[in-house]
Amino acid sequence: MSIARFWRETPRRYNLGGSKCTMCGTVYFPPRAVCPTCAHHRESIGKMEPFQLSGDGEVFSYTTVHEPAEGFEMQVPYVLALVRTVEGPVLTGQVVDLAPEDVRIGLKVRATFRKLREEGKAGVIHYGYKFAPAEDLPNRPPGRPRGAVGAPAGSESDRAAA
């Protein structure tokens, strides 16, 4: 795909930069310019603020893909899931580092950073989020955001998601 088209989404694809409606508090990923759900639809224009997801969530549904999307041929069969994040938004992403037969609805997962696809052997490499099982991992220490996306509010990476 177009380099610019992918590149401009890197704050989202690398760092899970979403947005939050300051009128009703709902969190969205990818970020939205207007709140689709709250009663303040019109008033929310210009009042959506950047919000970074932690990358923690659980599998809401999943499939094991045998006929792959373009660029995923080397990973067949791969698990694709709808992941409900702890902040609310549901994301579509691969679940890696787990045998397909061990994936289940409710599995706790955590965002990980992987190659999404390559533009052939000579082209650019696109990176972004996938999910890995988190159940056997220690919990995130309280008050400590993920290094991945954990730039404090107002920092450069936060603003980049706006």
Binding site: M1, R5, F6, E9, R13, P30, P36, F60, S61, Y62, T63, T64, V65, H66, E67, P68, A69, E70, F72, Q75, P77, Y78, L80, A81, L82, P89, V90, L91, T92, G93, Q94, P100, I105, L116, R117, H126, G128, Y129, K130
Partner: protein
């Protein structure tokens, strides 16, 4: 707004039409419909053409005038408009044609749908058609149309106890009906064991849970109801044409196991026609994936939420059941030429309402429903067709 009638129908065979080009199949369907309507081309006001991806599939955009030209109507300088809504392109075009006639702007229009999918390799065809899903937030991450529908299926099974066998029944039924349809892409019957034992595409969906990539075209001629009897012995009235949209990506749906677009399109259509699901005797619904059919039956109001699987197993949607569903063989067996699907649904239902469906004929239907879906449900179109008295 005035009442609109379907005056003529036509369609090509669906399937692998290796020796026929996009323009050839488009014209064949359109001319069939014109002849069926006993209409002179001089009566036509406009052409609406449903097509999803001609640019990617055959390197040809701007296909409205192309079809008009090769249909021999170039010199008449009619307006020709292409309409795109993923897999629902055909019925969206029908909606536009319906509005044009209902408004009084044109008296007679041709609505066509055409797609040529076998001019690219299967993998390319799958990649191109997956662009009906959200490319940036689903496809980039490994999503395909069957994979996204498979996640809907898995959730439906989890929430409602829908079984693998119930999904498979949808395919068995489709092939059973396809065997009676000379235009169908697949005319072979399949068993439950074959469906369940087929190779996986995106679990729990296997090869037989997924409609094929087909070539094909279909067309209808629409005109005002008040003039219908002049052009057709058995005109069919469009009792309602309703469209509803939803979030592009499955991940953003209110409920992953419900197509709100279908719920809303159906509600609007039944309100417009002042009818209810129980009044429908025959329906063509989206069964692009076996799970799509179960969702449709629930979201259209034919089954309670979560009950479509058992209801299907119980034979409620067989020929002779409460609602005879997909007598054409559906997308699964009749075929899935994306932009042609919605128009072909109407072709089948008009034939049913006229009593011309031969081996597939349902006994004396009066109200029929067509249900077309784009992508994973971002667009749904519901059309109600009524036998004109």
């Amino acid at each position: 707004m005035r009442d609109v009638a379907v005056l003529g129908v036509g369609m090509t065979k669906f399937g692998e039409l290796w020796d026929r080009s996009f323009r050839e199949i488009g014209i064949e369907a359109g001319l069939q419909a014109l002849v069926d309507a006993k209409l002179s081309s001089g009566d036509l006001g406009a052409l609406y053409l449903g097509n999803m991806a001609s640019g990617s599939l055959i390197d040809q955009e701007h296909i409205g005038p192309l079809i008009l030209d090769y249909a021999g109507l170039g010199a008449r300088h009619l307006p020709a408009v292409r309409v795109e809504g993923g897999g629902a392109s055909g019925s969206l075009a029908l909606h536009q044609g319906y509005l044009a006639v209902a408004s009084g702007l044109y008296d007679f229009v041709v609505v066509g749908g055409a797609e040529k999918l076998t001019d690219v390799p299967d993998a390319t065809g799958n990649q191109i058609t997956s662009s009906a899903a959200d490319h940036e937030w689903e496809v980039v991450f490994g999503g395909t149309l069957p994979a996204l529908w498979a996640m809907i299926a898995r959730r439906h099974m989890h929430q409602y106890g829908t079984t693998r066998e119930q999904l498979a029944r949808v395919a068995v039924h489709a092939h059973e009906m396809g065997s009676k349809n000379p235009n169908a892409h697949y005319r072979n019957k399949v068993t439950l064991e074959q469906v369940i034992g087929a190779g996986p595409v995106a679990e729990p969906l296997g090869v037989f849970d997924c409609a094929p990539l087909s070539d094909g075209a279909a067309a209808v001629v629409l005109g005002p109801m008040e003039l219908a009897h002049k052009y057709s012995e058995r005109p069919v009235r469009i009792a309602a044409s309703a469209v509803a949209c939803d979030t592009m990506a499955v991940q953003h749906r209110r409920d992953v196991t419900t197509l709100d677009s279908t719920v809303l399109a159906a509600r609007r259509a039944f309100e417009q026609a002042k009818r209810a699901p129980a009044d429908v005797q025959v329906a063509e619904i989206n069964d692009a994936y076996t799970i799509s059919a179960l969702l449709a039956l629930e979201d259209l109001g034919f089954s309670e939420k979560g009950h479509a699987g058992p209801d299907f197993e119980a034979g409620r949607f067989a020929r002779g059941g409460e609602v005879a569903v997909n007598m054409s063989g559906g997308l699964k067996a009749q075929g899935r030429p994306f932009g042609a699907v919605g128009v072909a649904q109407v072709v089948e239902l008009v034939r049913q309402l006229r009593g011309e469906a031969k081996d597939r004929q349902v006994a004396n239907p009066t109200l029929a429903l067509a249900h077309d879906v784009g992508g994973t449900g971002a667009t749904s179109v519901v059309t109600l067709l009524e036998r004109a008295s």
